[in-house]
Amino acid sequence: MTSHILRRLTESVIVIAAMSFVIYALIGLMPGDPIDLMLGSDPHLTSADVARLKALMGIDQPLLKRYAAWAAAALSGDLGYSRLDVRPALAALAAPLGRSALLMGLSFALTLVVALPLGILAALRPRSRLDHAIDLACFASISLPSFWIGLMLILVFAASLGWLPAGGIVDVGGGGFLDRARHLLLPVMTLTIVGFGTFARYMRAGLLDVMGQDFIRTARAKGASERRVMLGHALRNAITPVVTIVALSFGGLFSGALATETLFAYPGMGKLIYDAVLGNDFNLALAALLLATIMTLLSNLAADIAYAAIDPRITDR
């Protein structure tokens, strides 16, 4: 168990290091460079100035050398300055991180509240009309583009009925709890609608898988009530794969929901990454992507460890 965790931890560190290089190289391939941006805002710069500035900032250096310098600074906690936010990139990440965690956390909780009962209901009566209806709903949920269903919710609840705001986090002059909740409602609904299908299907498949096993037959043969078989024997075992999926989704808390956040102008991590990439804010994009990647990989690691801890059949691979 310990050696398993250690090995997975080492693997994750290697992948994180490799990904930091890949992301660094990709950001370098985006249009323009910092000096071009300076040139755009200051027409008095001469080409000699440009060459001098590029040498000063090391932009004329080969990729590996630049990466090494950046990685050394990053490890000491210096991720550079955000161009759009005019403050250190790390400081610019704090508020969006909190907002994404709130949005994703709420959506995630609501998704589970909707999905798990649906999956259980479907599994209780396989091939029944209810099962087929739930299957259809799951299929729709998986196939819906989040930005379109969000747009439809805006169309109905904001543009037509005028009940809810179409975007942002607070009204002008607002900021109370109710105001914030109203702004969260449509994005949370959007993410729940496109998210519940996957979880419900997992729950259904997990439960059906368990229901076919010998110990369930034994429990029934001993005369246990169907209620006790379900709650005491089946559900407890069926929840294992669901726990893994839940743990896997934790990375999303830190990377946000890019399309949904952008649609609703919700200033979380997803929108920040989008704005930073489109706005040539290299340092901010790099820091945000790196953070999102690290947190996703760590949550995967956590899922792996949780799975091994819950399921006694897995000792060491």
Binding site: M30, P145, F147, W148, M152, S160, S255
Partner: protein, 305 residues
């Protein structure tokens, strides 16, 4: 009627039993036919999906424009059809490209084993674990000129098509790679493959001639099942302005335009999304049907399905 082999007849009969899959196949065929026929038909009638008419912006439906016009006065029906053609092209090309890449990686990993296998599979795990959309955004924003692509090509609309296909392949190969690797591992141990090794066949020959043909069913199923996801990825990138470049039409890009005019012309926001949804559902149902028809064991293995 086309003459089918016994295996083909069995497949057709099994597929025909799945009514949802049959209906989806008809829906997709009808849409593809309309979308691809609209190009020559536009030429015949002197119409154009790109024809801007600023005097008739956001018009309601009429005889001239059955579904009305968009924010630049272009015919919405023609735009939708062109968007459909591009969605289907990107979906199929992207899924195929990802399948080719995944098959190559899975085949080498499974057949070679050892260190190569370990490295490739860790890479697969890593790609699966990454936050996809943020990385796709960066990949889509890359300046192709910095990669040595000639400027005029990098700016062309065709480049945006190829770029999307390449991006989708780059992040989508993992499922096929895993399936192919697992199948290769079991095929490698079969007697006929060992006989081929004993006869002195080269590894490349064994992989391509003896193993690859037997991977057809699982690869076809996985590829078909991935088309819907690819179409969703294309639409979200185009919605964010990083996918298909105008003047080419794309359902995703049409939706981002419709967001601005949602209070005056709500139907502009309804149609493209509805079509994305229908096509993705239909693709997934066809994929399901193919899986059940090609691999009856999968059907039995799914309790209650």
């Amino acid at each position: 009627m086309i003459a089918l082999s016994p295996r083909g007849r069995l497949f057709a009969r099994r597929y025909a039993q799945n009514r949802a899959a049959v209906a989806s196949a008809w829906l997709l065929s009808a849409l593809a036919l309309a979308a691809f026929l609209s190009v020559p038909l536009q030429a015949v009638f002197g119409l154009g999906a790109d024809t801007v008419d600023l005097h008739h912006r956001l018009a309601a439906s009429s005889l001239a424009h059955p579904l009305g016009t968009d924010e630049l006065g272009r015919d919405l029906l023609l735009r939708l059809l062109e968007g459909g053609r591009i969605s289907l092209e990107v979906g199929i090309a992207g899924a195929l490209a990802a399948a080719v890449l995944g098959t190559a990686i899975g085949l080498v990993a499974g057949y070679r084993g050892g260190l190569i296998d370990g490295l490739l599979m860790r890479a697969t795990d890593a790609v699966i674990a990454l936050p996809l959309l943020p990385l796709l955004i960066v990949l889509a924003a890359i300046d192709l000129r910095k990669l040595g692509v000639p400027p005029e090509l990098a700016r062309s609309e065709v480049a945006s098509l190829y770029r999307i296909v390449a991006l989708v392949a780059l992040v989508g190969w993992t499922t096929v790679a895993r399936i192919v690797r697992a199948a290769t591992l079991s095929l490698k141990a079969q007697d006929y493959v060992r006989a081929a090794i004993g006869l002195g066949a080269t590894p490349a020959r064994i992989m391509l001639v003896h193993i690859l043909p037997n991977l057809a069913s699982p690869v076809i199923v996985a590829t078909a099942l991935s088309i819907g996801g690819v179409i969703l990825q294309e639409s979200v990138l185009s919605f964010l302005g990083l996918g298909i470049a105008p003047p080419l039409a794309s359902w995703g890009a049409m939706l981002s335009g419709a967001q601005e005019t949602i209070t005056i012309a709500p139907m502009l926001a309804v149609y493209p999304g509805l079509l994305i949804f229908l096509v993705v559902v239909a693709c997934n149902l066809v994929g399901d049907g193919l899986r059940d028809a090609l691999d009856p064991r999968a059907l039995q293995a799914r309790p209650g399905a």
